[in-house]
Each structure stands twice: as structure tokens, then as C-alpha cells.
């Protein structure tokens, strides 16, 4: 029992010394999904973020950076504990990194309560876009509906009579299909929600086969996407019923896993490999060189999150206590891999959405090519309900 007392004293002292040692650095908490089925996404965002830091000489707006990384295991509970630790023990200045919307919604309140900015490199739940929008929230990726709105628009222009919709049963899944239906005006044969992180889609695929729709749209982030597309191809459906996907389900990582079956698939994205600006060219080139793989849109979002922080901190001259100025500086926009990026008052970007298609190049390499533009300067559907200015 004596040892326990010592342990407590020790812990107390440890915390005390931490509290005393506070040189002026920027502390960024990076909570992301780094293990399990969604790990590829988190690792891409992290690698993109780290690449940007390297390009910025490990400084953000002139201040040295300390990044504290935690794995949320795609589990809201684990994420809460990690965020709690970062807010209360490490006292970070910014938080970023979260991939999945359900994770973000589980920790958002705690972050905003501490008046800490959350820079979202991916998760863009509708909750934070409308009435519940928050001054401490900025998203450098896209609102959850957007890629699906773009695909809905495209499927609509192709005049498909009806479509079968599939998504996991969680907030982003519902947002996604809502977004698709906002622009697709044809008939929805069925809207099937399955358990999050389900890996065997045989039951759903049988349903699709029986329903005989003209097209299928599936929102399946992470490992679910790989499994669904693989099984869809193995069931022989890819040749019979065209499959449309959001951009991340047809990105380099999925292509690596599924292979030739992907060729021909159309998908939507706010970023493409070919975007013609110096920041993007440097990003794509150095990412390939550093990590030996083709960057995905997730990686570009991680890269942009760091660039946004850099620009905003520079704008307030490194004084992180000026929260209002920081927010103004962030919303004013910055130069991203997608060119100059502006934001709505709810913290979501106003940007273009492109159509891409998976093609096989003459050399045999399979890539996801930009083939058109679906929306220009597109805003999210909820911004009008946000009271922030």
C-alpha cells in the first residue's frame, strides 16, 4: 500500500513539472484512425500532414511545432479518452486528424468547450454545418454530403432511371445518401443501411441482384469499400449494373487492393492528382518520393490542414491567444493543393468538385483520372442555417 502513495506523489510531481515547462511552441493534437479497417485513411492524412510540416521546416506560422499523435482505433470511446488527455493534460492549442464523423461528434463538444480549434482534415458532419455550427470548427476537406451530391448530379445527367443506395448505418452514411438524393431526381429502388464496419456483403449483394436496379451508388469508406467493391466484382455484378462511387472509394489505396476490376468506374472528388498548381505539383511529387505511393485525397486533406494552420498563425503573428483573429484568418482562406481555398461562415470550404474515372494506362498502370468538372464554387446545403458570420 505504501507504494501506491508514492505512485500518487510521483504522478502529482510529474503533472506539476509538465505544467511548469511551457515554452512557446504550437502544440497540435493529432487524433486519427491508425489501426484497424480505417487505418489506411488515417495514415494517409497523417503522412500528408507530416509532409507539409517537413515542407514548412517543422514550423507553423513561424512557431516550432510539437505534434502529439494518438490512435482512436475508430472507436468513439478511445477517441474521447485521447482527446481528454490532450486537452486537460497536454493542453494542446489545436486538434486535428479525425477521419470518421461519428468519432468527431463524440469528441466535438469537449474540444469546443475548452475553446480549442478543431481543424478537420476529413470528417464533415452536417451537424456542425447547420444550427450547431461552431466558431472553433474549420473543415479543410468537404462537408459529408458534397462528394455524394456531385455523384448524384452526375448520375442524374446520365439519366439513369433508378438507383440502389447502400451505406453503413452511421451519421456520415445518412448524410451521404441524403446528399446523393438532393441532386438525383430518379427513383430510389432501395436504400439499404448495414452495420458499420461490416465486411461480408453477401446478403446486400444478393439483395442488389434481386432488385435489378439500373445503377448502384455505395458510400463505403475505408476497408468496407475495398471489401464491397471486391465482392461486387466477384459476384459478377460490375459488368451488369454500373457502380458509382465517391472519390475516396476509387483512390490509389482501393485500386491497389481491388485491381483491374475497378477500371471504368466513375467517381467524384474535390481534389485530383492533375490539378495544375505549384502547391499540388510539389505535394504529389514529394509524397510519391517520400512514401513510395500515390497520394489519395485523404493525404491532400492532411497536407492542407497543416497549410491552413500555418497561414492562420502567421496572420496573427504567432499570438495564439487571439482566438477571434485566428478564426477570421482561417476563414479568409489560404493557398491549398486545390488552389486558393475559401470558407463559408460555418467553416466549410467553397470549392469545385470534379468527375474522375479509373482508367488503365498503356503501360498497365491503373490510375484515377480527372475527366470533368461537376460543380464549381459549390457550397454545402446547411450553411444558411448557421447563425455565425
Amino acid at each position: 500500500m505504501k507504494k501506491l502513495v508514492w505512485l500518487m506523489v510521483f504522478l502529482g510531481l510529474m503533472g506539476f513539472s509538465l505544467a511548469l515547462a511551457q515554452p512557446r511552441t504550437v502544440k497540435v493534437g493529432f487524433v486519427s484512425t491508425l489501426s484497424g479497417g480505417g487505418a489506411a485513411l488515417g495514415i494517409d492524412v497523417r503522412d500528408g500532414f507530416n509532409l507539409a510540416l517537413r515542407h514548412l521546416n517543422n514550423q507553423l506560422g513561424g512557431l516550432p511545432v510539437e505534434v502529439i499523435v494518438a490512435d482512436d482505433q475508430q472507436n468513439p470511446d478511445v477517441a474521447r479518452q485521447a482527446v481528454d488527455r490532450m486537452l486537460k493534460r497536454d493542453r494542446v492549442d489545436f486538434l486535428t486528424g479525425i477521419i470518421f464523423s461519428n468519432i468527431l461528434l463524440a469528441v466535438g463538444d469537449a474540444i469546443f468547450e475548452e475553446k480549442v480549434f478543431y481543424i478537420s482534415p476529413n470528417a464533415g458532419p452536417s451537424e456542425y454545418a447547420g444550427e450547431q455550427c461552431n466558431p472553433y470548427f474549420v473543415n479543410v476537406a468537404w462537408q459529408n454530403d458534397n462528394l455524394h451530391e456531385a455523384m448524384g448530379q452526375y448520375v442524374q445527367t446520365r439519366r439513369f432511371e433508378n438507383v440502389f443506395l447502400l451505406a453503413p448505418n452511421y451519421p456520415a452514411g445518412r448524410d451521404a445518401l441524403t446528399g446523393f438524393k438532393r441532386y438525383f431526381k430518379g427513383r430510389v429502388v432501395a436504400e439499404v443501411y448495414h452495420r458499420l464496419n461490416q465486411l461480408d456483403f453477401s446478403a446486400e449483394i444478393a439483395q442488389i441482384r434481386a432488385a435489378r436496379p439500373k445503377a448502384v451508388y455505395a458510400f463505403e469508406p475505408g476497408a468496407m469499400g475495398v471489401n464491397f467493391i471486391k465482392q461486387y466484382a466477384e459476384a459478377g455484378l460490375l459488368r451488369e449494373i454500373p457502380l458509382f462511387l465517391p472519390g475516396f472509394s476509387a483512390d490509389a489505396d482501393v485500386i491497389r487492393a481491388v485491381g483491374r476490376g475497378m477500371v471504368g468506374i466513375y467517381n467524384s472528388s474535390q481534389w485530383t492528382l492533375e490539378l495544375n498548381n505549384p502547391i499540388n505539383q510539389r505535394f504529389v511529387e514529394d509524397f510519391r518520393k517520400t512514401y513510395n505511393r500515390t497520394p489519395t485525397l485523404y493525404a491532400s486533406q492532411g497536407y492542407d490542414a497543416a497549410l491552413l494552420l500555418d497561414a492562420a498563425i502567421k496572420a496573427v503573428g504567432g499570438d495564439l491567444s487571439k482566438k477571434d483573429e485566428l478564426r477570421k484568418a482561417m476563414l479568409a482562406g489560404f493557398n491549398s493543393t486545390r488552389g486558393p481555398l475559401r470558407f463559408s461562415p460555418n467553416g466549410y470550404p467553397i470549392q469545385n468538385y470534379y468527375l474522375r474515372q479509373v482508367i488503365q494506362q498503356p503501360g498497365g498502370e491503373i490510375v484515377n483520372r480527372q475527366v470533368g468538372t461537376i460543380f464549381t464554387n459549390h457550397r454545402d446545403a446547411y450553411v444558411d442555417r448557421c447563425k455565425l458570420r
Binding site: V5, G12, F16, A19, N75, D77, A106
Partner: protein, 304 residues
């Protein structure tokens, strides 16, 4: 001399929040709150596992139900803390009564598995209600208690008070007539029956009591994280609580408290050291099971 240590410890626990506030150690105050909540849950499990010999692999059901009751009632507009507590504890007890009444007809491995099965059912049921958050869990705002405002510090004292009260209750219980019979049933069920004890009823009462206390721990957990997570209902959570009990000492009075304290601290420290922290937890646990079957409380007793 025996009272010195507990008094000092209690004094330290009482004095911790102001010290923490002064030194910016709120995080550790939160950690202590969490440990005390787990101590309560593990002690409740120890009552049936340790004293009653009932290897329930579904204790998370009551723990999670307590937390979800808070979240759901707050969402539905019931804001009185006392009402919420009463409903949560009552529901947990009722659930334990239902599960116990069926499970206690089986023995051994079948009992382990049927309690697990019931807990899994509760898990999937809760997760299926999308309006209550589904897989994402549900926000659980802190209710009103009238006498005081529930914040991190009052919650700390509240948890401390509940834990002490529960421990006192358990202490009286295991030394009462009822407690003695419960332990006798664990030792030799056929003999207890032949002496004229209605074994089933004793076990069921203990089962319900443990469920109610675990529900209360779940309520406090929801107040602490302000969030009801499906994780609280998962089978790994049941395993986690069992780990605490066996680490601290099965059927040792301080087993649950000690196990919760040590396991939480070990997890906290290892998590900071390495991402492979679960390896450390696993090795420690394996060592305890193989070489110190009476847990830490048993080791200490032998040492002193």
C-alpha cells in the same frame, strides 16, 4: 495504528481537487474519478464473482444500461439527477433479475456463456436504436441535483461518497448472515442446499444487488464522460471488469478497488510509454493468473 493509513488516504482523496486545481492537474482528478467508478463496478462484480462464485461474463450489460439510462432520460427531458439515479438503478436491478432468473438455472461454462449471450443481446438492442445514437453512442448531459451543480469537482466528491457508501454496504453484507450463506454456496452448493438454504434465491438476490451497483457505476460513468458509449456494453468491457477483479483479488474485500486502481494506472502509464501497451497488460494479467491466483490483495496479505 490500523486506522492511520485509511485516514491519511481519505484525507488525501478529499484534499486532491483543490490541490489539482492549484497545480493544473485536473486531468489526474478526472483519472481518479474514473478509477473510483471502475472500483465501484469491479467491487459489484466481485460480490457475485468472488463471494458468490458466479462467473458472470455479462456484467457490462448493467454498467452500460446505467450510462444509457442517463443519456436517454436527459434526452427525453428528465433532468432531475435523483430521478435519473433511481430509474437507472431500478432498471439495472430489473435487468439483473431477468437475466439472473434464467441464467442461474445453468452451471459452469453454460452459465458463463448464457450471461455473455444476454449481454450481447443488450448490446445489439441498444446499438440498433438509431435515435439513441446507434453505434456512435449518445451524448449524456449532466442532470440537475438541486443541492449542488454537477461539475468535474462535485462529481469527484459525489463518486467518492458513493464508492465509500457502497463499500460500507458491501462490507456489512459479506459479514452478515446473507454474506456467509452466499460464500458457503460458493464453497459447496450441494451442501448448502442440503442444509436447507434456497440456493437459487440467495444467488439471485446477490446477482440483482451486483447489477444495481454496476448500474450506479454506469450512471457515474455517464456523468463523467457526459456520453453513453456502446463500448460500455461490449463483451470486452465485461472482460475488463473481470480483469480488475482477478488482478485485485477474487473474493478479497479490497479486490475490486485494488484491481481498478492498479489496472487503470498500469494502462495509463503503459499507454504513454508504448503503443503496444496491451502487451504489457496481457503479460501482467497472465502472470497474475498463473502465479498469484489470489490477486494483489492476496499478495499483500501474504506480505504483511
Amino acid at each position: 495504528m490500523r486506522w492511520i493509513f485509511p485516514t491519511v488516504l481519505l484525507g488525501l482523496l478529499l484534499a486532491f481537487p483543490p490541490i489539482a486545481a492549484a497545480m493544473g492537474l485536473e486531468f489526474y482528478q478526472g483519472l481518479l474519478t474514473k478509477i473510483m467508478i471502475f472500483a465501484l463496478a469491479a467491487s459489484s462484480l466481485n460480490l457475485i464473482l468472488g463471494y458468490g462464485g458466479m462467473v458472470s461474463f455479462g456484467h457490462a450489460a448493467y454498467f452500460g444500461l446505467g450510462a444509457y439510462t442517463v443519456a436517454i432520460l436527459m434526452r427525453e427531458g428528465v433532468t432531475s439527477g435523483w430521478v435519473i439515479w433511481a430509474v437507472a438503478v431500478g432498471l439495472s436491478a430489473l435487468l439483473a433479475l431477468l437475466i439472473g432468473a434464467i441464467s442461474l438455472r445453468t452451471r459452469g461454462i453454460y452459465f458463463i456463456m448464457i450471461t455473455l449471450a444476454f449481454a450481447q443481446m443488450i448490446y445489439y438492442l441498444v446499438v440498433s436504436f438509431k435515435q439513441y445514437g446507434g453505434e456512435d453512442g449518445l451524448r449524456a448531459r449532466r442532470p440537475e441535483f438541486g443541492l449542488f451543480e454537477l461539475n468535474d469537482t462535485t462529481l469527484y466528491y459525489l463518486t467518492l461518497g458513493v464508492l465509500l457508501a457502497a463499500l460500507y454496504l458491501l462490507y456489512r453484507l459479506v459479514h452478515s448472515r446473507f454474506g456467509r450463506v452466499l460464500q458457503a454456496i460458493r464453497e459447496n452448493e450441494a451442501r448448502a442446499l442440503a442444509l436447507g438454504y434456497p440456493v437459487f434465491h440467495f444467488q439471485l438476490v446477490a446477482f440483482v444487488l451486483a447489477g444495481a451497483l454496476a448500474g450506479l457505476a454506469g450512471v457515474l460513468m455517464a456523468h463523467y464522460t457526459q456520453y453513453a458509449s456502446p463500448n460500455l456494453l461490449a463483451w470486452q468491457q465485461s472482460g475488463h471488469l473481470m480483469m480488475m477483479v482477478i488482478l485485485g483479488g477474487v473474493g478479497q474485500f479490497w479486490g475490486g478497488v485494488l484491481g481498478a486502481l492498479v489496472l487503470s494506472l498500469v494502462e495509463e502509464i503503459l499507454q504513454d510509454l508504448t503503443i503496444h501497451w496491451q502487451l504489457g497488460v496481457g503479460l501482467i494479467l497472465l502472470f497474475i493468473v498463473l502465479f498469484a491466483p489470489k490477486g494483489l490483495a492476496g499478495l499483500m496479505r501474504r506480505g504483511s
